[in-house]
């Protein structure tokens, strides 16, 4: 009874008690609200085209890289990208003394290595026969004793430089650039490949300014094309990105901050 009486009489104690009672849920709600979810990510839809003598074409099956920072911030890297010189596919295979039919097979199939297509029977004998494939097939057949398996597993029996030398050299140069970039920007480099229509999506990107490049020149019919572009990525969704793609082209576009380096493919020594 005495305590109840004191509470009733002492207004100060009561006020403090009620204050803390109300403060308790506010503290909880404040903590919950300050743990806000990460900022909404952004999306870039790339659309890559190039103009050649035969008209404007979509750049299919080429990999593009997303690097944190603007062109100015990545100046040293961009200089390195410009200086990186990859031998053309034809020159590489000629330097490896590859046969003419093999060079033609790679060109016709748009392949950087022999892995990109299954070798068909017609390339093992007859007018289209490829010398390198024939040799590898004979070795495979001697070991596997199965004609079909020998043909399918033929790439396993080719010399490394013929098998994937050009692709490996290109990847080595790209990996060197990526490693350097990642150590400078402290951010992983994201990459994506364009589809048949030259479209690629870079999703879940933290908003900010980025450099988008293919790092080494992409071979088209007669030229090598290198893109080094800048893009500010804002928090957006895929629907918006689909309506407004980022166009990359070798034609001048004042809307896109881009440096395009177009070099003619070199004439290789036969």
């Amino acid at each position: 009874m005495t305590i109840r009486y004191r509470f009733r009489q002492n207004g100060f104690v009561r006020t403090v008690f009620i204050f803390f009672f109300l403060l308790f849920p506010f503290t909880f709600s404040f903590v919950a609200h300050t743990q806000s979810p990460p900022a909404a990510p952004g999306v870039v839809r790339l659309k890559v085209r190039y103009k050649s003598a035969e008209g404007t074409k979509d750049l299919a099956r080429k990999r593009f890289y997303l690097i944190k920072g603007s062109l100015d911030q990545n100046k040293p890297l961009i200089e390195k990208i410009k200086q990186t010189n990859i031998e053309s596919r034809e020159c590489f295979y000629r330097s490896q003394s590859a046969s003419e039919p093999l060079i033609k097979w790679l060109r016709d199939n748009d392949c950087e290595s022999v892995y990109c297509r299954e070798v068909e029977d017609k390339y093992l004998s007859g007018p289209d026969a490829v010398r390198e494939f024939q040799t590898a097939f004979e070795q495979a057949l001697a070991e596997l004793k199965n004609r079909d398996a020998a043909r399918r597993w033929l790439p396993n029996y080719l010399p490394p430089q013929i098998r994937s030398g050009f692709y490996d050299a290109k990847q080595k140069a790209i990996q060197a650039l990526i490693s350097e970039t990642e150590s400078t920007t402290k951010t992983p480099v994201m990459s994506i490949m364009t589809d048949r229509k030259g479209t690629a999506y870079l999703t879940n990107i933290e908003p900010g300014i980025y450099t988008i490049s293919n790092l080494v020149g992409s071979e088209t019919e007669k030229t090598s094309l290198l893109w080094i572009c800048e893009r500010e990525v804002k928090a957006t969704d895929l629907g918006v990105a689909m309506k407004r793609p980022m166009m990359l082209s070798n034609e001048k576009d004042p809307k896109v901050k881009c440096e395009v380096i177009e070099r003619p493919l070199p004439v290789c020594n036969k």
Binding site: I3, R4, F7, R8, R14, F17, L22, P25, F26, F28, S29, A32, H33, P37, P38, K57, A60, R61, R63, D108, N109, D110, C111, E112, S113, Y115, C116, R117, E118, E120, L144, N146, D148, A149, R152, W153, P155, N156, Y157, P160, R163, S164, Y167, Q171, M190, S191, I192, M193, D195, R196, K197, T199, A200, Y201, T203, D237, L238, G239, M242
Partner: protein
């Protein structure tokens, strides 16, 4: 002591009475004020707690711990045990297998021979204790029954014979490491003039070039590994959707070494003998992921409409995936909207549009063209509305 306990109980009683007192006061204004204050506090708490959070994408794998500590534990082989981990793969597995495996290519096609087990586990095979009951439990790691003349073995991966029995639980002790991005670099090539047609045979899944014709081209070479999974028939949908293509909506995953060894038999790393190049030991058994139709009635092949887009047009993130961990099919509704939108009707006159389905939902309360009933009867998410705006 009595005084002390009485004082404590009086204090707690006082707190309670204070709360009760707020409502029992005679002044109704103060009582209402107090009631509002408390309601407000609760509302704030509820609002804070029910705030939408970003969904977590990672799912915990279903793991089942192997039995340990009993004689029966020898019937469950664990690659991840300390002793087994200390061995190299080819100390037990012959590469290629020399047993009567029926493959049309050299492969690790069967369990290791007896010597691989007996050299360490003699006691589990030949002691009197091991013979008690149904026989040595260790035999059932590979054999269907523990008996001296039992030759039948469980299927090792792909069965070597039609009557070969699979283990009761299809559980894997390894996760697979497969970088889609690197493989896309190498194989996802297409010359515009060189359309391809996927040709499936019994033994391999490579692509063959065929002349330009009306057949559906296969662009990304994904079908080297991913074929329509005819082994998995999804529970039949209601009558209007009785299209057979809808029963096999999913693509298969590689279950044999066939497609890998085309390039990785020797020389190109990881080679066939380097098992750990692709197979990473898991700490516990991983249940085979069960596939079920949750949401869409989509059929890759056939179906009501012909889906002619190349794989990466819809699976927009696959060419950047460096690992299988956390990999999801991730097809956004926007990918569907590219064709199934009102404005595209001129290009695909027969395509059912998302707009039409949204209208349908208003009338019938179900989006039945693309969705199964359990999902189609829910309110369409905002992403569907924005995709067609």
């Amino acid at each position: 002591m009595k005084d002390c306990s009485r004082r404590i109980s009086l204090r707690s009683l006082a707190s309670w009475r204070l709360c009760v007192g707020l409502f029992s006061r005679k002044d109704p204004k103060k009582r209402i004020g107090a009631l509002f204050a408390i309601c407000f506090c609760f509302a704030v708490i509820i609002a804070a707690q029910t705030r939408r959070r970003a969904p977590t994408t990672q799912r915990r794998p279903t793991t089942v711990q192997a039995a340990r500590g009993s004689a029966a534990k020898y019937s469950a082989f664990l690659h991840s045990s300390e002793k087994h981990k200390s061995l190299t793969c080819n100390e037990c597995h012959k590469i290629p297998t020399t047993w009567a495996a029926k493959r049309d290519f050299p492969d690790v096609a069967d369990f290791p021979d007896h010597d691989a087990c007996v050299r360490c586990h003699r006691a589990q095979f030949f002691t009197r204790q091991a013979m008690i009951g149904t026989g040595p439990a260790i035999c059932t790691v590979c054999h269907v029954k523990a008996a001296p003349r039992e030759e039948r073995r469980f299927a090792f991966g792909k069965p070597n014979a039609a009557d070969q029995q699979a283990k009761a639980k299809d559980e894997r002790q390894f996760t697979i490491e497969f970088p889609h991005d690197k493989h896309q670099n190498v194989i996802a090539r297409l010359d515009e003039c060189h359309r391809l047609q996927s040709v499936r045979s019994e033994s391999h899944h490579k692509l063959k070039s065929v002349p330009l014709d009306d057949k559906k081209p296969d662009y990304n070479n994904c079908s080297i590994c991913h074929q329509t999974d005819m082994s998995l028939a999804i529970v039949a949908l209601p009558a209007p959707n009785a299209d057979p293509a809808m029963l096999h909506p999913f693509k298969s995953m590689p279950r044999t070494h066939d497609s890998c060894f085309n390039c990785h038999w020797k020389n190109e790393k990881p080679v066939a003998a380097d098992c750990t190049g692709c197979h990473k030991a898991a700490p516990a058994f991983i249940a085979e992921p069960g596939r079920k139709r949750i949401s869409a009635k989509f059929a890759h092949e056939g179906g009501k409409g012909e889906h002619v887009a190349e794989c990466t047009t819809c699976h927009i993130n696959i060419t950047r995936a460096g690992t299988l961990r956390g990999l999801t099919p991730d097809v956004p509704i926007n990918a569907c909207a590219a064709c199934h939108r009102e404005s595209k009707k001129t290009t695909y006159p027969k395509a059912v549009t998302i707009e039409a389905e949204l209208e349908q939902f208003k009338k019938t309360g179900e989006c039945a063209y693309c969705h199964t009933p359990d999902v189609g009867q829910k309110k369409p998410p905002p992403s569907h509305e924005t995709a067609v705006q």
